[in-house]
């Protein structure tokens, strides 16, 4: 059986997602069974860019309006500068032909990396499955993550 690698994607920051997908693709390339558990702000990375923000209640509506998500909307954890820093980083990455978060995400999934979305956060935020990209393999909770992480040779919290 292949060795396991798990990543908890807690952050929704673009730079952290880049590093995480890089690791996931690397893990898959050395034959590891990789899974990424998206929770809290990390869920933004696997939301559809054009996803609906439908949810019930004024607080959830406000939250989902401000926290729209989608990989292309992910900002930098540092020097974001209302998007200017991100735009510049994007230019620099293009210059060296470095793939974007969205491209890395597709690559990771094609390499067999499993995407798991946290149902607890989804419920709290009042979102439905239609808010997420079709690449999400399963919707689950802590036991699913721990069952993988228990056998994991590499377990990371991003």
């Amino acid at each position: 059986m292949a060795e396991k690698m798990t990543l908890i994607m807690f952050s929704g920051d673009m730079d952290k997602a880049l590093a995480a997908f890089n690791l996931a693709i690397g893990g898959a390339s050395i034959g590891m069974e990789v899974s990424m558990f998206f929770t809290f702000w990390g869920l933004n990375i696997i939301k559809k860019n054009e996803g609906s923000m439908k949810s019930k209640g004024i607080m959830r509506k406000m939250l989902n309006f401000m926290n729209r998500g989608g990989a292309k909307r992910a900002g930098l954890s540092k020097f974001h500068m209302f998007g200017m820093g991100k735009w510049m980083m994007g230019k620099l990455m293009k210059n060296v032909k470095s793939p974007s978060v969205q491209e890395l995400m597709v690559m990771a999934h094609q390499s067999g990396v499993k995407f798991i979305a946290c149902t607890t956060t989804i419920g709290m935020m009042g979102l439905g499955k239609e808010a997420f990209i079709p690449e999400v393999d399963s919707y689950a909770g802590v036991a699913t993550y721990l069952a993988d992480a228990k056998d994991g040779r590499i377990n990371l919290f991003i």
Binding site: N22, I25, G26, A28, S29, I30, G31, V96, K97, P99
Partner: protein, 76 residues
């Protein structure tokens, strides 16, 4: 060095060279040699490390004017 296939990763950065190497090696038969062309220095350490991790054989490396050639034998 003689190779059975060549993969051009010039201009690409991590994780692209190892990702593409892993995919390309799947197309080769056991015993065949893959030549990887790269420009990112990281490949010098990454290619042997990738081979250690996957059980394939790192045969050698050549460097000429910024272009790095890495040779990997498929043994897995």
């Amino acid at each position: 060095m003689k190779a059975d296939a060549t993969l051009d990763c010039v201009g690409l950065y991590c994780p692209m060279p190892i990702h593409q190497t892993a995919n390309k090696l799947k197309e080769l038969k056991t015993g065949q040699v893959l030549e990887v062309l790269a420009s990112d220095e990281g490949i010098k350490e990454d290619a042997p490390a990738w081979c250690r991790a996957t059980g394939n054989e790192f045969i050698g490396m050549e460097e000429q004017g910024g272009e790095i050639k890495v040779y990997i034998k498929k043994t897995k």
